[in-house]
Amino acid sequence: MSELQVTAEPGVPQVLTSRDLDAPVALVYRAFTEPELIAQWLGPRKYTMTVDRYDLRDGGTWRYVHTDEAGNAYGFHGVFHGEPSPDGIVQTFEFEGAPGHVQLDTVTFEEHDGKTTVRTNSVFQSVQARDAMVDAGMASGMSEGFERLDELLDRQLKGRHVTDG
């Protein structure tokens, strides 16, 4: 099975990923650009995905929302830059919980022998923002910590044991 490669060099506000998919580029591009298809794969299964708008053109805007089982909604939006095509998609990405923290994403597709390599390049506003977003989740041992944290937050936000009351 293909592995997701994630590269985050120290001191550089950038994250690179690469993933091989067993499908031709035309089909992969459709899955990345047709809202009804995007809603079927983007994000972890635990979220319900709603694509609010997806105006695939230079200057067009996009927005989607992940909703968890408890009904918490997490919105994301951005703008396409340059004409999106199977050669590449350039867009801004902003989490609505952190307005003003914008990343610049470039996605490229490369077909070889009927398979497609998807590469993403995300540029952040600072190394600090990059590290907070990526390193915090990836540092060894921390994902378990975050899972515990998440469980704890769930319990606390359900109204009991809130220590900051």
Binding site: L21, A31, W41, G97, V118, G137, G145, E147, L149, T163
Partner: protein, 124 residues
């Protein structure tokens, strides 16, 4: 969440010692000495880290007898953790789902192109 506070949260979470402190606090409140124990740093250094976490709203501190206890604060972390926690997990799961979807789409295309396809072309 205000942008200043998000900056403070990002700044606080960018440091591995402070992330470790937060992980420890998921297990319950702790004194400065307890928090310093696993690290090769002095208690004043831990106190400085705690000030950064407090300013970011990630912990609150109370006094019990002579000890100052730190507590994790849930509210400010809620949005941040969803955003921060699972970059790799998010994309790994997404790509797994995408592979399944692509397999279904390819099957549909093959089904469509087979009977009566004048080109006799297979898209698989």
């Amino acid at each position: 969440m205000a942008m200043d506070q998000l900056d403070a949260v990002f700044g606080a979470l960018a440091d591995p010692t402070r992330r470790a402190i937060l992980t420890r606090l998921t297990q319950g409140e702790a004194s400065v000495a307890e928090l310093a124990a696993p690290f090769r740093v002095t208690q004043p250094a831990i106190s400085r880290h705690l000030k950064v976490l407090e300013r970011a709203g990630l912990i609150s501190r109370t006094r019990r007898a002579t000890a100052r206890l730190s507590h994790l604060r849930a509210e400010p972390l809620r949005q941040a953790t969803v955003y921060l926690a699972g970059y790799r997990e998010y994309w790994e799961q997404s790509y797994e789902r995408l592979e399944e979807l692509l397999a279904v789409l390819q099957e549909q295309e093959t089904d469509r192109s087979q009977p009566g396809d004048p080109t006799g072309r297979s898209t698989s």
